[in-house]
Symmetry: C2
Subunit: 516 residues, 2 copies
Amino acid sequence: MAPFEAMTSINHSGSNFTSSLGRLVEEESQQPIMTADKVDPNHPALQGSLTPPANCPSSKVLNFSPGPTNLPAAVESTILRRCFPDPSTKRLGSMALSHRSPEFGAILRNSIALTRRVMEVPPEYEILFTQGGGHGQFAAVPMNLCPNKDAKATYIVSGTWSSRAVIEAEKYCTPTAISSVNEDGATFTSFPSAERIVAEHDPDSKFIYMCSNETVNGIELHRLPVFDDVDNTTVPPLVVDASSDFTSKPISWRKSNVGILFACASKNIGHPGITMVIIRKDLLGQANPFTPGFLNYETNILADNVWNTIPTFNVDVIGIMMEWILDQGGIEAMEENSVAKAELMYGLIEDSNGFYGTPIDKSSEHRSRMNVPFCVAGGDEELTNLFLVECWNRGIVGLRTVTPFKQGIYLRASLYHGVSYEETVVLANFMKEFAARHSISKDVGETTMVAENISSAMEPASPDSSCVDLSIFSSSPTGVDMALTLPKNFKVSSYTKLSRDMFAPPALAPASTTLR
Amino acid sequence: MAPFEAMTSINHSGSNFTSSLGRLVEEESQQPIMTADKVDPNHPALQGSLTPPANCPSSKVLNFSPGPTNLPAAVESTILRRCFPDPSTKRLGSMALSHRSPEFGAILRNSIALTRRVMEVPPEYEILFTQGGGHGQFAAVPMNLCPNKDAKATYIVSGTWSSRAVIEAEKYCTPTAISSVNEDGATFTSFPSAERIVAEHDPDSKFIYMCSNETVNGIELHRLPVFDDVDNTTVPPLVVDASSDFTSKPISWRKSNVGILFACASKNIGHPGITMVIIRKDLLGQANPFTPGFLNYETNILADNVWNTIPTFNVDVIGIMMEWILDQGGIEAMEENSVAKAELMYGLIEDSNGFYGTPIDKSSEHRSRMNVPFCVAGGDEELTNLFLVECWNRGIVGLRTVTPFKQGIYLRASLYHGVSYEETVVLANFMKEFAARHSISKDVGETTMVAENISSAMEPASPDSSCVDLSIFSSSPTGVDMALTLPKNFKVSSYTKLSRDMFAPPALAPASTTLR
């Protein structure tokens, strides 16, 4: 079909690529593996393609996108089963339910009750479902808490999202910004300290705003601050953008004086199109008169979440996610799993002798568990591109999204609930293998061993498969051991930049390759 | 599971009801059918339940809800197949796609291109996807077209939705209202004439706003007005809320001087959570500075619809709906089908000798094809309730949604694309049968015949089924012939109010019934 041309052409490129790789491997398996040419800059993997070759060795797409992204496999199965009932059952799925029907009322109450239970939301908080995503709340928060533009607010600016939030807030209030931007005026690698916030906040502020996980910058507050602990000062209520870390750790609602916490769904709790807002009731009733009705918290709470049509299916999905979290052992289990996945990634990076880097220092308390930024070979463009293409060829996608936010040299592995520990292990193992393959140690014998391993790895898995066989790389959790895999004397400066022109059509890319 | 108690209790009531009906039919099949008692006011059908008994005679739920509601069965199948690919295909469904991925880019372009093709949208219009539903646009339209509150606008107030729109608009502009409210100050049965609008509109208006189908009131403009035809006056551009009739008829974009047309998806084009806005480019660039970024048309057009995260799945579904419309023969075929369904319903009502009524007179040009309001027996409460319960028992639901909008005595059959002509026939046939059953003609022989028919109809379809057998009522399109079915001398005043207490638990409802 014509309108799908773009997508079809992506798939074609993918096929060309894998066929071409298959041929190259077959024809050159006797040659040294360390050959090089440039990666085709038009390769789908470099355009952010999330569609790996259909015959790649992974059993499914391993999606490390920063969101929207997959939900856990078990959740996706439940959604299919519960939300798409067979017509013969005489039951309507949530998409087809009137938002004012008793059936949807039950789904709505269920999703709210489960969220309250999972996140231990105290009774003085209301749970609202809104539309418009995080950006909708960047406007809605100051609109709802500031009766007019002269009202004060304090914004903690710690990265891309809080920067966007304060820009939007300037339309509706008079914000004081407390920024942790680095001396370069562009990068963020930490949050302002609680002490600094207490000292520098505007005491007339209606609220103190912060984003607890900055997805682009890779920094996270693993616990919300408790300002009272600093010097017994009573500071304004906290407004938290928890869009990307909600349900990955507990929230100390009362201790941290949380006034509002919001989370768009498309990271850890559901599909895009719905945003959850948890608001302390005493903050209602001070909205600017020009607040649109559908963004007015009080209006929507008084109408029990159905002042206007609510995205029925998305509400249902959030309930299913919350059920899954409870089944997994609740919020503690979620945090353990998030910590484990993040430690795997950061450990790998730390142990790579600098082959991989991450902008947030090991000494930092703020390394994000949700989004792990990392660079390949100091940001070397060719090697980074080769890395992305090889990931894609193995079914690993989403590491570099084409966004308007400058990420510099960094790729990003996002580890939301939809990414299992086992999937993280597959990525980590590939990263180990890639580092080993592209590192030339001073020890020639060691180099040869690495090359031999890779040579056998590059052979097609079967006559029909044009993908490399990943089976020699352990994908079991216990198989992760950087220290054993990487050459001991490996140094950042010692790797050779190697890549292979595997992506151009055969006519343009002669079978002969050259060692640089 | 505890949070599903409410729903479970509904299902239980349903079971009790059908079991109780089964028993009654078995024990009393020899008794006259015209027995009566009050319908249990707590019966699920009267609470808006959309879950009929699982063993009801219909092969699926026949959902006449005003939205959200079903999409066409073929569309729902395609959604399942295309949006939920098996993981082994290594393809991600649209819900899991990053909104910045090339795969989603193709889906987005596809949905826009198909909409443009189906609705013949000229190139000077942009197609935007937004969030917040119709109410979101009630705010967004004046925010985007009026730089400040002093800016003028003219609102055609013709029912519930345009009334809500003008109330919201008063926050952002200075509206002039041209209302077609009846003398009672509450009901609407027509639109103001084009002549009146030309005469009464504020010439300084930035736009003239109208809702082309008022779902609650049951009135529709089958063609947008062409004001230039009135007296060659140039009037401001038209803003059209086409949420409930979009894609059911052609739009004369240029001739009607359409500036903006918006449609929330949950009626004819998709699932709730997304709203389509089609805007003429020359109207961009005059937004009020406090317009939230995610509601600012220009901001979002400049960002190619992905300024922030877009509901990816909902965009995909709109494309699938548009494909289906093209497959059906395009917008002309859609209009023919809508006309046919509406004519079936209005014809039935007209031919019922007053057993059914509708608030919009036959002489009106504005009877809605999308939403047919009708009353049963002049609004008689018991008979209306019995009607709803018997519909529900047959799998026919959504005729009375519990809404905050007063609908008085009227039920509503909504006939969006998700309702097929054949499904409308099933409803119409039941309505004929119900009318016949509850009409006592002066001709005793005729009454007896009706009662006999119903008596056999009320017998269980099979030993296991507690539902009535509908097979004796034709459900083929050709079977609709009110003139033959209804007694010729039937009069409104001549039917006997009959109902049956079929819904209370057996302990409370003795098997014996009495003729009133």
